[in-house]
Symmetry: C2
Subunit: 381 residues, 2 copies
């Protein structure tokens, strides 16, 4: 770790501030220490603001975003329950895979990677059977699509289904209003727009969702993720359940402090501004974007690779010569796109310029030349 810092401009983790990093280096407190529990309380309150919810059950799961996904589905689904899942990327596929493991009846509504889900198709699938859960990914990290949610939320509510949203990548970069929208459970990540280290997954469950857990016929097949046990620690009883990742919670507390000090509207605008600049510059360079403007998520931009460009040496060159990490494609997009993340602490105009220059350099070394001066001039922030 004694090498020069790498600019993290992939799909996550994102760069962390000095203060967030140093919060981890404080001497540990015990997980039942009153001073630590005060930090936990503050983290829960901050997460409620970010999710846009008043849900009492709002807390960081002690695992990464996929652990949060598992905490949500494992509590809400029982064998045979019908779940309608929107699949327009790798993380929708992951929801399907997990729901199948939990022996749910899975109905997939698919859209091509790089496009948004069709709300009418979702509504038809939801109405076709007695649907327990509807789940969609808000910002698909594998493609860079920001899924519009209101129509799907309304269809789920009309059918009496619980509405679940993956907001791993959008939290802290958009203003979320999950109560107003009618989201019953959501899971998030810390290492994207929150710019905290990975290892925790903020989740929230509405009272309706918790009532579903309470009405289960079978026990939750997990001890670690069982919401009824988690409230024992996060609730007033403060009963030992597992040892919280103390240093990560301290880092998340520091990161939430920075997010709330900036304010969500300003932070959301900052993500929009740098994304707009990046997209303009990439197009000025002659590159094609995977996702059209109206459904593009600002924190993650997917760029089609020109014909003949090899993905791995391009990314290796950026890491080696420019100390910049960007992401490759996943699933059917592997080798066809690169993904550029401008998230949280990393969503800055200087990073846009540096990344555009690096990418132009890397592409030129594979014989693809664009007008870098025009691209840099297109950066209007």
């Amino acid at each position: 770790m004694d090498q020069p810092e790498i600019l993290l401009a992939g799909p996550g983790p994102s760069p962390t501030s000095h203060a967030v990093r140093q919060a981890q280096a404080a001497p540990l407190l015990g997980h039942l220490d009153p001073d630590f529990l005060a930090i936990v309380d503050r983290v829960q309150a901050g997460l409620r603001t970010l999710f846009g919810t008043g849900n009492e059950f709002t807390l960081p799961i002690s695992g990464t975003g996929s652990a949060g996904m598992e905490a949500v589905l494992t509590n809400l689904l029982e064998p045979g329950d019908r779940i309608v899942i929107g699949v327009h990327g790798v993380f929708g596929q992951r929801l399907v895979q997990l729901a199948r493991r939990l022996q749910a009846e899975v109905v997939e509504v698919t859209a091509e990677f790089g496009t948004a889900l069709d709300p009418a198709a979702m509504a038809r699938a939801i109405a076709t059977g007695p649907t327990r859960v509807v789940a969609v990914v808000h910002a698909e990290t594998s493609t860079g699509v920001l899924q519009p949610l209101p129509e799907i939320a309304a269809a789920a509510r009309a059918a009496g289904a619980l509405f679940v949203v993956d907001c791993v990548t959008s939290i802290g970069g958009r203003e979320l209003s999950w109560d107003a929208l009618g989201v019953d459970a959501a899971f998030a990540g810390t290492q994207k727009c929150l710019s905290a280290p990975p290892g925790l997954s903020p989740v929230t469950f509405s009272p309706r969702a918790l009532a579903r857990v309470a009405a289960r016929r079978s026990p939750v097949p997990s001890f670690y993720f069982d919401t009824t046990l988690l409230v024992g620690y996060f609730g007033p009883g403060r009963a030992y359940h597992h040892t919280a990742p103390i240093s990560l919670v301290a880092a998340l507390d520091a990161a939430l402090g920075e997010v709330l000090a900036e304010g969500l509207p300003a932070r959301s605008r900052r993500h929009d501004d740098v994304a707009r600049a990046l997209r303009a510059a990439l197009q000025a360079l002659g590159l094609q974007l995977l996702v059209p403007d109206p459904i593009a998520t600002p924190m993650l931009t997917s760029v089609r690779l020109p014909a003949g460009v090899d993905d791995k040496p391009l990314r290796a060159f950026l890491r080696q010569a420019w100390r910049i990490e960007i992401g490759g494609g996943l699933g059917p997009l592997a080798g066809r796109i690169v993904r550029i993340g401008l998230m949280g602490h990393g969503a800055r105009p200087e990073n846009v310029r540096r990344i555009v220059a690096a990418l132009a350099d890397g592409l030129a070394r594979q014989g693809v030349r664009g007008d870098l001066a025009a691209a840099l001039a297109a950066v209007q922030c």
Copy 2:
């Protein structure tokens, strides 16, 4: 976190060194960055040494000790599988609770909290049916008993069962020899004798255990803990599965470096020496130990509270007036014992003296007076 440091002398977390804390404060690397993967490789090699195993599948699960427990049982057990569990403390009970959630046929072999399991009783239970898994806790953190394992391991092997050991609290404080003993899967913690922050759980699976996973009739009901997916990332393919908790892995790497530099024999002796001193001093103070010498685990000492002493104000006084955290009792021992951990970086003679003086002070304030001078004189290290 800006208050004076608290001496962590409870059941965990233990104190961390400055270097381990600072390892978390380095700028993040990506979870697929070659420099980070080199750290992962080194961590895996270090964990193999600590477990005493050559198992290729040896890695840190991205969650705390209970997540490691879940990773082991969720992969190895299918509905209807028979598991014999030794229960002599809260963590044995937790194994039972988890196995039941996984719909296993659970056979409990119990021993009074504070005593060791009877190997003959375990052997009888194992031989009674076709047993898939035998699971015991090595160092029971709820009582302070160090369970002798060879006879139970032999009985498990004779029955063709997989032998699972919880070594959350013993790893890094004892020389473990899991291959020689015939352990098929084990899970551990980072926040005890390894003196790394909590949030990771080292696990190891033998080839026999992995063959069992491969032969499952049903999918593992977890995506996050599925060993066949974890090898995709930890194996040569380096496929994305979930984002590793990068800063925690860096801290674990630093902690393992300190453990291996000290050497396991010397580290084990250090834990023995301070535990012997603590036990002698507590007895010189007139206190009774819960666990007799031959089966007492050195890293955690349980002390019976004298009649009339109230547990909570005693611990609150130690925290407030001495800045020392010790643990209370769990389950049937709640209010009846306190637990003193001398683990890893905290297993030092000066801490023994400080804790003994603090405990004598706290007990005196509840009317129980002992000979503190004699107790301190009994500290022979």
